[in-house]
Symmetry: C4
Subunit: 252 residues, 4 copies
Amino acid sequence: MTALDDLKEELVTANHILANERVLDSFGHISVRHPDEPGHFLLSRARAPQLAVTGDIMEFTLDGEIVGAASGKPYSERFIHGAIYEARPDVLAVVHNHSPNVVPFTVTRQRMRPIMHMCGPIGGDIPNWDIRQKFGDTNLLVTSMEIGRDFATTLGSNTVALMRGHGSTVVGRSVRDVVFTSVYMELNAEMLIKALSMGEVTYLSDGEIAAITKGRAGFTFERGWENWCRRVGRPYVAQDWNMGEGFSKTDG
Amino acid sequence: MTALDDLKEELVTANHILANERVLDSFGHISVRHPDEPGHFLLSRARAPQLAVTGDIMEFTLDGEIVGAASGKPYSERFIHGAIYEARPDVLAVVHNHSPNVVPFTVTRQRMRPIMHMCGPIGGDIPNWDIRQKFGDTNLLVTSMEIGRDFATTLGSNTVALMRGHGSTVVGRSVRDVVFTSVYMELNAEMLIKALSMGEVTYLSDGEIAAITKGRAGFTFERGWENWCRRVGRPYVAQDWNMGEGFSKTDG
Amino acid sequence: MTALDDLKEELVTANHILANERVLDSFGHISVRHPDEPGHFLLSRARAPQLAVTGDIMEFTLDGEIVGAASGKPYSERFIHGAIYEARPDVLAVVHNHSPNVVPFTVTRQRMRPIMHMCGPIGGDIPNWDIRQKFGDTNLLVTSMEIGRDFATTLGSNTVALMRGHGSTVVGRSVRDVVFTSVYMELNAEMLIKALSMGEVTYLSDGEIAAITKGRAGFTFERGWENWCRRVGRPYVAQDWNMGEGFSKTDG
Amino acid sequence: MTALDDLKEELVTANHILANERVLDSFGHISVRHPDEPGHFLLSRARAPQLAVTGDIMEFTLDGEIVGAASGKPYSERFIHGAIYEARPDVLAVVHNHSPNVVPFTVTRQRMRPIMHMCGPIGGDIPNWDIRQKFGDTNLLVTSMEIGRDFATTLGSNTVALMRGHGSTVVGRSVRDVVFTSVYMELNAEMLIKALSMGEVTYLSDGEIAAITKGRAGFTFERGWENWCRRVGRPYVAQDWNMGEGFSKTDG
């Protein structure tokens, strides 16, 4: 298999994992930037992520145009992905989700902020984008580059942005990275709702969030990834522990 | 197989899906209006929905009288279905449920209202019918056309009506439609209870609910349906994406 | 098989169902009064209910003495069962549980009371027995007839009594009856905690609870029992819909 | 097999159980003191506990140095275990977890305290260690003996200490003991959050906690252990009911 084939397989596995870990249900999607064509990205045809197979993966330009053969109808919200890849050259993978414990934070004034070290990489500043502010009463879907770019502006340089009445979008430097952040964002939200019911909460400090984020290392991603693969019955293909710029090579 | 056979198979699948997605437990039921006899409807014999098979499906007049052979004891609450089909010619399918996150809304003054786009089709106005108001102290069951008609009056032209201390009833224009609305009503209730614990909530606006409801399209139902079929081990039989009047043919 | 063998099989099935429906975990137990010897009862040896097999079922006098062969160590809390059978000739089956959503009600002043028709049979008055009141600081276990009789006094003529910091005990007129009440008590507690978080709650009225309890019928128990059997992989053995005195023979 | 081999098998089983009972996810770990070398302990290589196999078990000095062959990369937080074994000769097994219902208690002022008899052994005084107090802004991990010893000082003679924004650590006199306490701590936290939402809570008294803890007996551990083994598909190897000093030999 080529490196591109491997990446497609990893993307299919990520689809299954995100559904199994309750980040996605029949809706939501994950993409990865094309490794050889930074102006393209890979994304399944419009299908429940739990069902995605390698043949479903399609290639798109950043404007959301299909490149090559179409395996089927594309996701109408592919513009979330394209607009982010356009605005953020550092981003190599994107998850758009309706993570069920995160949605409540999109419709209240309680801020989402990490309370536990595993969840630190979601970041300390998580904006909440409201489509209504610029586009009025809509069906809330991001169905054009214009809307996608407006969302990307709110996302800015953050790792996560909430979407009012809809869900959230998470970005990362690899498929593993963005899956990891998504799984632990859902857990953080679940635990934070419970903590808030008991009174004042001590969030991670900015310094702690920075130390945790800087310290992410390949072997941490591999530990979760191997486990999640087993849980969905997909083969585990090990990756190098050295994940390059922006990640740690050492423990602790 | 005839079209009627296909519809019975779809109804059996819907029974299994609703049980698996936690809308129904051993109780609750789903019916569909007879495609050739608008004055009749199809409904399983009184059985846990998870166990329903094709041979369990019976035919009823709107008054709840059995048409043809009886596969067994009928549901004592079949009058919910009949009375709605009588009052609402636009309704082609009905789910009566004890959806566990919805029940709390039937016994408090908190209003159920959608907070997330997937849940928009439950509608902005959801009445809460109380059997006690007209019938006094009962076992809360809708066991006659008289009670069924009273409930149908409260339902009015809405998609959902709550039933105090009991559950709710959802109507739709197809089996897929009514299953979809039921699954996402349960999710909306689960998320809304959490959101309310964190303070003031921003619900979808009336304009958003209208845009979402008008924009429902066949391919959206298919995406969920295929996934839910797989989860219960039932064959997925694809349907036309063009669902006719009241549904969208396009994306977004 | 004899009628006694059938009853032992039903008791094993009940053990598995209660574990699967989250009423019991590795602890808690269900007994049935001996059909031919009203002064004896049947109960598994001390074992996680999920693992119970027919050979584990033992016979006891109401004082908790083993009758015949011992399959192993008896439950140290068998006195809960014996003391209730002694005080309540109408009781034919008993479940002692640590039902996880019920325990919170044993340590707060919020009253447990049914909010939904399926849960009506738990009754409107549910006392909360505190072992400390008479026996001071203990390990909270009911390990003698003296303690068991004190609990039975608090239970009185009710269907359920809570046990502070411990769990609850449910009584019924058959294995099916007591399992049904136990499963829906756990559901009532789960839904009530959520309802209470949203404000003032409308409970079932006394008249409604009476109508529901009086209206329980064999076919209702069978509908749940068949489904729960399937979920734990145990054979479903149908019973007569006419359950005798105290139960309804008709619908609604 | 030697006694050491048996212990390694038990440790692998414990890894699977703790993951299945939701005490651990892909992270967290359990160790046991070496039975023949009290200055050594056994711990899996850095791997998701659900996946641990016998060949993964490694031996360490209390300072966290690998003894003999390395099966792979060690956990960076092995110093939690070493520092506790160093400070507490009575401790023979340690679980470090991110138990999801416990984490909220590490970031609020609500105290964790047992409300139910099964959970009594977590103890009445549960300190909450904050790494920031001595080490400032870190990634919250215990990656050196210096940090481990600071945590062990806070743990003192207790059975559990919380770790702010991180999780908790539980100690015991055997693998069974520490697994039992960990499983019921998670359950206690889940039930306590719900109880607190309903008003003032009656915790177990100090006298009750002492009676429960003193009364723990081998057959109680065996009842849970056999059940948990079955749930993860691991063989159940029975142990002597007489667990020695600090445990009861009798019922109740």
